[in-house]
């Protein structure tokens, strides 16, 4: 399978790998996907009082395109507001990485991860009635 240079770059040098404190009131956590599907992404964003995302971290279980998609997303969201980030579409991600048709679903999952992280932070702040993305039995 031939990967684009951009995918290889993100895969070899993933940006912003790691974890933020999910109990921090300023951190939104979105976990999407399922092991059975071969793709699980966890995206975390730290939002400051001005409503700007000042930090983002990710961890992904998935193929090279999935890892690249989530790594790219952490770069795309930094310095933006929640509303700006909610406007990011999977085709932006897929386009930037030159994903082939069979890998488009990886960018869709990344878009879902953003939505889940936003929903989580908004719920923490009581801004909407949206539920957090994952209900872990822990």
């Amino acid at each position: 399978m031939a990967y684009s240079d951009k995918v290889l770059d993100h895969y070899e040098n993933p940006r912003n790998v790691g974890v933020l404190d999910k109990d921090d009131p300023n951190v939104g956590t979105g976990m999407v996907g399922a092991p059975a599907c071969g793709d699980v992404m966890r995206l975390q964003i730290k939002v400051n009082d001005a409503g700007i995302i000042e930090d983002a971290k990710f961890k992904t279980y998935g193929c090279g395109s999935a890892i690249a998609s989530s790594s790219l997303v952490t770069e795309m969201v930094k310095g933006k507001t929640l509303d700006e980030v909610a406007a990011i579409r999977n085709k932006d991600i897929a386009g930037e990485l030159a994903l082939p048709p069979v890998k488009i679903h990886c960018s869709v999952l990344a878009e879902d991860a953003i939505a889940a992280a936003i929903a989580d932070i908004r719920a923490k702040r009581g801004e909407t009635a949206a539920e957090p993305a994952v209900a872990a039995a822990s």
Binding site: M31, P35, A36, C37, V40, A66, I67, A137
Partner: protein
């Protein structure tokens, strides 16, 4: 300094390079200076010379199986042999019954042929294997009916390398007058084949898994008692009417030579391969959360199929960029489904997604094994650092209890 040439080939079950001895022999059948004649040309020396070479090759293939040369039919490969065997026997025996029994872990060439027969009105039972990949004999016995005419079970599985108890299956089929077909594409040179001991009626073979060329195979068709198959390719009536088409002398000679070498060198090669394969296993043995897929005893020497939990297979292969292997991961197959073989073993989707198949062969060296161990370990470590599932496992979270937000 090492003489290691990357990428290292660890995918011998997928295909093999042609042995130099085989290639040399093949080349003598191509040009004007060589034996280019049509083996069916009965009237001149060009044809006679080519025919003689074909018959010598036929003998070499037959000898590896313990068969008579007249029982060997040349085809374009094991896929064609599977088609000829299953369709051919099913159609020939249609008045006795229309039921076929096979295993879910068979090669697509068998499964898809069965699907085609289902479209034509045949009934097929696809049995589940046991967790180690072996046939469940209780289920098998129950599945056999009065109208069962064909059973197809492979000798060695291409993904996990497990070896089925063919003689026992053959006995059961013989008792019931059922035609028994065995896809033995992965067997030559790896384990002994004796068609009489194995009670086999039809056997599919190909050259490219045993250092012969691609595009040539054979179907063993038993003469005593006589097994009949309806031809699938019609024309000049070659191969006793079972498979028409001018015989490709160079291809056949290649297969014959590959089989001759395999027969001569199998014993010593297996000792070496087992040692190398065990060295590979040893190199991973202290890692957490690894699972070997398939029975370790009933297994060919050169196969290791292993799942590295919490790491996805395609990303692992991408990280092992200097090693050529294959994966049971969905991403590496055209569909998004994980290996159907591993699923049939009862492996969870996650473990099927995380599996790597290492298959070694004639040209594998100890140095290559050690390099493979190093690079695989480093890749798994790197990807586990990237994996949220590994984090959750380390935190003691039971992943089965999580409600995933799958899309």
């Amino acid at each position: 300094m090492s003489s290691l040439s990357v990428p290292i080939y660890m995918d011998y079950s997928s295909t093999t390079p042609v042995d130099e001895r085989v290639a040399e022999k093949m080349m003598t059948c191509l040009t004007r200076q060589g034996d280019f004649g049509n083996p069916s040309s009965r009237s001149h020396p060009f044809g006679w010379a080519a025919d003689e070479l074909v018959e010598e090759a036929r003998k070499n293939v037959a000898e590896l199986l313990g068969a008579d040369p007249r029982e060997i039919v040349w085809t374009s490969g094991a896929t064609e042999s599977d088609n000829l065997a299953i369709k051919g026997a099913a159609h020939f025996n249609v008045r006795r019954g229309k039921h076929i029994v096979t295993l879910k872990t068979e090669h697509k060439a068998v499964l898809d042929t069965c699907r085609q027969l289902e479209k034509e009105g045949f009934e097929v039972t696809y049995l589940d294997p046991l967790a180690d990949g072996l046939l469940d004999f209780d289920a098998f016995e129950k599945a056999l009916r009065d109208d069962t005419t064909v059973v197809s079970i492979m000798h060695v599985n291409n993904e996990i390398g497990v070896i089925q108890d063919i003689p026992r299956i053959g006995r059961m089929c013989r008792e019931r007058g059922i035609v028994f077909h065995v896809d033995a594409a992965q067997s030559p040179g790896k384990i002994a084949i004796d068609v009489d001991e194995m009670n086999v009626d039809l056997m599919s073979l190909c050259a490219h898994k045993v250092y012969g060329p691609k595009g040539i195979g054979a179907l063993y068709v038993r003469r005593k008692p006589r097994v009949r198959v309806e031809a699938q390719i019609h024309g000049g009536g070659h191969e006793r009417g079972m498979r028409s088409g001018t015989l490709a002398t160079h291809q056949i000679v290649g297969m014959g030579e590959a089989f001759r070498i395999a027969r001569d060198e199998m014993a010593s090669e297996n000792v070496r391969l087992r040692m190398l394969r065990d060295r590979l296993i040893e190199g991973f043995s202290d890692m957490e959360e690894i699972f070997i897929n398939g029975d370790m005893d009933q297994r060919i020497a050169g196969n290791l199929n292993i799942s590295f939990n919490f790491v996805e297979g395609e990303s692992l292969i991408m990280s092992m960029k200097d090693i050529a292997v294959s994966s049971g991961s969905a991403c590496t197959s055209a569909s998004l489904e994980p290996s159907y073989v591993l699923r049939a073993l009862g492996r969870s989707d996650e473990l099927a997604h995380s599996s790597i198949r290492f298959t070694i062969g004639r040209y594998t060296t100890e140095e290559e094994i050690d390099f493979t161990i190093r690079q695989t370990r480093a890749a798994v470590e790197k990807l586990r650092d990237l994996s949220p599932l590994w984090d959750m496992h380390k935190e003691g979270i039971d992943l089965d209890s999580v409600q995933w937000a799958a899309h």
